[in-house]
């Protein structure tokens, strides 16, 4: 297992690289959902004001 994480001594570069890539993937999903939730809230408020 240690050998796997060491990655021939390149682990200190490889794992942060994967963390960055996966982090960007997860972050983009969160930001997109937050953007949609904010847009829905804004639209609801607008409709309430019109009513």
């Amino acid at each position: 297992m240690n050998e796997f994480f060491a990655m021939d001594g390149y682990g200190i570069y490889l794992w942060p690289s994967f963390a960055l890539g996966i982090g960007v993937i997860v972050l983009n999903v969160i930001l997109a959902w937050r953007s949609l939730a904010a847009a829905k809230l804004d639209a609801r408020r607008r409709l309430e004001m019109q009513a």
Binding site: F4, M7, D8, Y10, G11, Y13, L14, P16, S17, F18, L20, G21, I22, V24, I25, L27, N28, V29, L31, A32, W33, S35, L36, A38, A39, K40, D42, A43, R44, R46, L47, Q50
Partner: protein, 244 residues
């Protein structure tokens, strides 16, 4: 030829419904593809004879870089469609692509730096490929900044669309920079004329990762597109229906 499908793309409620239905499917398929590709790339693929295990960074760096270019190309095409056919949905789609593309440009630059240090001995060089990729990040910032700076949505659409279309010239520059100029960056190994130069055991996880990233991009664009459409059409009657 029947153009009904194209005209439907101009209808915000139709596109909103389509995005709501399909985003989870794209997201699910993307997750599956990325998880399998990660296992294939990190565990099953043999180490490279020159770069040893460092080559495995290709499984996150290359798809990120490719997605940064695909997002910009998609954005420019959507902007052009919006400009030519005056389609508001297309401008919304272009706006939805920009933040995703910017984040994956950051990922491509960051993972490239982490790969560059053990291979080239430095995190950064002002190499044509790296410099053009950095310029791509500034183009995304410019596009988003321009849209945010103009209050009138129609003027913002037009100005940002022209900006996106002009900036697309950077995409082939990034792609072919390694062929046109002397570069530390290696030449294309997968997306090139002729056969890929990679061994199949290394290649299939990478190809699957490309597929996963493409599906992921589709899923996130569709979520962001829904948000863009709601913001733009918040006073419209169809919005009342979808929020009920």
């Amino acid at each position: 030829m029947n153009w009904t499908w194209f005209h439907r793309l101009g209808s915000p409620p139709h596109v909103y419904g389509f995005a709501a239905r399909w985003a989870p499917w794209f997201g699910g398929a993307a997750t599956l593809a990325i998880v399998i590709a990660l296992y294939g790339g990190l565990v099953l693929a043999p180490e490279d004879y020159q770069q040893k295990d460092a080559f495995r960074m290709v499984y996150v760096h290359a798809p990120s870089a490719w997605l940064s270019l695909m997002a910009y190309s998609t954005m420019a095409v959507a902007a052009a469609v919006g400009l030519i056919w005056r389609m508001k949905v297309a401008h919304s789609a272009a706006a939805a692509c920009a933040p995703i593309g910017a984040w994956f440009t950051v990922a491509a630059l960051g993972t490239g730096m982490l790969w560059g240090k053990p291979m080239w001995g430095t995190y950064w060089v002002w190499d044509p490929r790296l410099t053009a990729e950095l310029l791509l990040l500034f183009l995304y910032f410019g596009y988003m900044g321009l849209r945010a700076a103009i209050e009138d949505p129609q003027k913002a659409d037009k100005a940002s669309a022209v900006f996106a279309i002009v900036g697309v010239v950077n995409v082939p520059i990034i792609k072919f920079s390694v062929n046109w100029w002397n570069s530390l960056h290696q030449e294309a190994t997968v997306m090139r004329m002729g056969k890929p130069t990679m061994n199949f055991d290394m290649l299939w996880p990478l190809l699957l990762m490309f597929v996963g990233f493409a599906l992921y991009f589709a899923a996130v664009v569709l979520i962001r597109l829904r948000a863009e459409l709601l913001r733009r059409e918040r006073g419209a009657s169809w919005v009342r229906g979808v929020l009920a």
